[in-house]
Symmetry: C2
Subunit: 355 residues, 2 copies
C-alpha cells in the first residue's frame, strides 16, 4: 500500500528544513519498507501569493483531499503579506476544511537540549498538549462599528459547539487513558470568561464520567502558565481551547528548551480527510536564508506522521535517531541553537544516516 | 489631608494577609506622617454571599465611591460559590464600575527569592505588565443556543473600543517614557484572532507616533509567553488586552519566583473613582487557615497604594523593608514558600519593624 504525501514547504525556514524532513522520512521509509508517493506543492506560501494574489489556488481542496497526509513546513512572511492574511488563507483553512480538530503537541525534555528552567533533566518533563483546532477563539465572526471614529467598537466572537468540544475532549481522555499516569488537565478561565469557559468545564465533567480511571484537574489559564514554569512535572495530558492550546503549546516547548524543535500533528481522527504535520516553529524571518535553522521540528513531525499512518516502529526510529545525535553533541553537526556550528543540512544528514 | 482607605479582606488567605498589609501600611504612615482613615468592609466575600445571597450590598457603589483607594485582599471560595459568580459579583464589578482601566503589575527578581529559571539574578528581570482592565475578552455578552442538545452552540464576544484601547496604550507609552530603556512590547495574536487583534496592532502604531522616543515591538501571545521564559531580560513595559495581560501577569511573576508575593494596582488614572490595590495571588483555598501565607503581596500592594496617593517615599520605604528582610533570609521569620518556617505574622511583623 502506497501512502500519498502532499509536501508543502511554505515560507522562510519552512523551505530550508523541509529537505531535511524529507531526507529523514525517506530514510525511515527505506529501512522499514514503507511505500511513499510524495507530491510537491508550491502554494500556501507568500511567494505564491505574490504571483497569484491569493495563498491557494481555487481548487486546493480537490488537489489535497485525497492525500493520506500533508507534510507542511511553515507559512508567513509578514514583510510582504500580513500574517492574518497568509495564515487565514492557508494553514487555518486546512485545519478547518479538513476538520483536523485535534492539534497534538508533545513537550518533552530531550537529552542534549538545554532547558531554561533550573534543575530539570530528561524524564522530568514529558507531556502532551491537546488543542482544539477548528473553532473557539479563532473565529471569523465579528466586525467593526463606527470605524475610524472615536466611537469605534471592534467585536470578535468566540464560538464553541458541543460537537466541537466533546470530540476533542474525547480524544484527550482517550490519550490520557493510554499513558501510565492517566492524568488529564483542562485549561479554562471560568472566573473571567464567564460564558464559554464554565461551559467547557461542564463538558469536561460530563466526559469524565466515561473515564473513571483518568484523574482530572482544572486550572485557570493564568495560573496554569505559571505552573508550566514552576511545576512542569505535574502534567501528563493537557487539553485546551484553540487559543489556550496555542499558548500552552509554545510555552511548554519553551520550558523544555525545545521550541525550535517541537513538532505538531493536526489530526482528523475520523480519517475522512488528510491530517497535517508541521513543526511548531514558524517561518522565522529573522534567521531565514542562512541555512542554520534546526531541522528537528520538521523531522520529528515526519515521525508523528509515520506513526499516524500506522508505522510506530518507523516513527520511533526517527525519534531515537535525533535523540542519539543530540546526545552525542558533536558541534560540527549541531545547529547554533543547540550549541553547535553546523548547518540545517549537517544536522539533517547526521540524523538520516543514523536512521 | 486624610486619605480614606476602604479595606476589603475578602476570602481565604485574603483575610490572613490583610492584617499584615495594614501593619506595614500603618508603620509607613506613622513614619512619614501620613494621615489615613481606614474603613473596614466585610462584603465582597463568600461569607457575605452565604449570609446575603449576593456578593455585595445594593448600595456598594455609594459606600465605596468616595474612598481615595481600596485596599483589597483576595476573593473566591469555589467550594461554596463558583468563581465566575464570586468574581463577577465583586472584583470585576469594581474594576468596571470604578473604571480602573489599568491593571499594573511589576515583575521583578527579588533578592532572596528563588527563580525557577536557570542562571538569573536580581537586576536581570525587571519589567511591568500593563493590562487593559475593563473590556476585551472579559465581556458579559454572549449566550447559548440549542442548550443541552447535541447542537449546542456557546458564544462569547470580545468587545474592544477605541476609547478603551487608546487610553491604556497611552498609559503604557507614558510609563515606558519614564523608564531608562524606554521600551514597549505589545502582546497580540493577529495571525489567529484576526478581527480584534490586528486592530489593536493598528492602535499601537497610531499611538506610537506621539512617542518617538519609545521603541515598540510586538509579539504574538504564544511566542511571547515562550520569551518570558527564554528571554525575560528583553522586557521593560508590556501592554496587553485583559486576557493576555491576565496571563502575562501571572507568568511573569512565576518566572521571577514571586507569584506568591506580586502586587497589583487597578488604577483609574483620571482620579474620578478610587483605585484598587491587591496581591496577585488569589484566596488560595489550599493553604488558607494555616497562617503560613506570605503577606508580601499584600504589603507590596500597600506600597503601590501609597505611591498612587502621592507618597513615593513611603512606598519605597515599604519595598526597601521587605527586600531587606528577604535578603537577610532568617528562616524563623520567613514563610515556607520562601524557605523559612515562620508564619504570616512573623514575616509581617519583621517587615513592619523594619519600616
Ligand atoms: C480572579 C480573576 C477574575 C482575576 C482576573 O482574571 O482578572 C485574577 O486572575 C487577576 O488576575 O486579577
Ligand atoms: C501561525 C498561527 C496562526 C498558528 C496558530 O496560532 O494556530 C501557530 O501559532 C500555531 O500554533 O500553529
Amino acid at each position: 500500500m502506497t501512502h500519498r504525501i502532499a509536501v508543502i514547504p511554505g515560507d522562510g525556514i519552512g523551505k530550508e528544513v523541509m529537505p531535511e524532513g524529507l531526507r529523514a522520512l525517506e530514510a525511515a521509509a527505506r529501512r522499514f519498507g514503507i511505500d511513499l508517493a510524495l507530491e510537491h506543492f508550491d502554494f500556501a506560501s507568500c511567494d505564491y501569493y505574490a504571483a497569484h494574489g491569493q495563498m491557494l489556488p481555487d481548487d486546493w481542496f480537490e488537489q489535497l483531499k485525497d492525500a493520506d497526509a500533508i507534510f507542511y513546513g511553515a507559512v508567513g512572511w509578514p514583510e510582504t503579506v500580513p500574517d492574518h492574511i497568509s495564515l487565514w488563507g492557508s494553514l487555518l483553512q486546512f485545519r478547518r476544511r479538513f476538520d483536523q480538530y485535534v492539534n497534538l503537541r508533545p513537550c518533552k525534555l530531550l537529552p542534549g537540549v538545554k532547558s531554561p528552567l533550573a534543575d530539570r533533566k530528561p524524564g522530568d518533563i514529558d507531556f502532551y498538549v491537546v488543542r482544539e483546532n477548528t473553532e473557539g477563539e479563532y473565529s471569523s465572526v465579528g466586525g467593526k462599528m463606527f470605524e475610524g471614529t472615536d466611537r469605534e467598537v471592534v467585536i470578535q466572537e468566540t464560538v464553541m459547539t458541543r460537537t466541537g468540544v466533546d470530540r476533542v475532549l474525547k480524544y484527550a481522555f482517550d490519550l490520557a487513558q493510554t499513558r501510565p499516569r492517566r492524568k488529564l488537565t483542562s485549561a479554562t478561565k471560568s472566573n473571567g470568561i464567564a460564558i464559554t469557559m464554565p461551559w467547557w468545564d461542564e463538558r469536561v465533567k460530563a466526559m469524565g464520567v466515561h473515564y473513571p480511571e483518568v484523574s482530572v484537574d482544572q486550572f485557570h489559564i493564568d495560573i496554569l502558565t505559571a505552573n508550566f514554569v514552576m511545576h512542569p512535572d505535574w502534567f501528563d495530558v493537557v487539553v485546551a481551547s484553540n487559543l489556550f492550546g496555542d499558548i500552552l503549546s509554545d510555552l511548554g516547548p519553551a520550558c523544555t528548551g525545545t521550541i525550535g524543535v517541537a513538532p505538531s500533528a493536526n489530526i482528523n481522527p475520523d480519517g475522512t480527510f488528510p491530517s497535517l504535520f508541521e513543526p511548531v516553529h514558524g517561518s522565522a524571518p529573522d534567521i531565514a536564508g542562512r541555512g542554520i535553522a534546526n531541522p528537528i521540528g520538521q523531522i520529528w513531525s515526519a515521525a508523528m506522521m509515520l506513526e499516524h499512518l500506522g508505522h510506530q516502529d518507523a516513527g520511533q526510529a526517527i525519534v531515537d535517531a535525533f535523540e542519539a545525535v543530540l546526545s552525542e553533541g558533536d558541534p560540527t553537526v549541531l545547529t547554533p541553537d543547540v550549541g553547535g556550528h553546523g548547518t540545517t543540512e549537517t544536522l539533517g544528514r547526521a540524523i538520516a544516516a543514523r536512521i
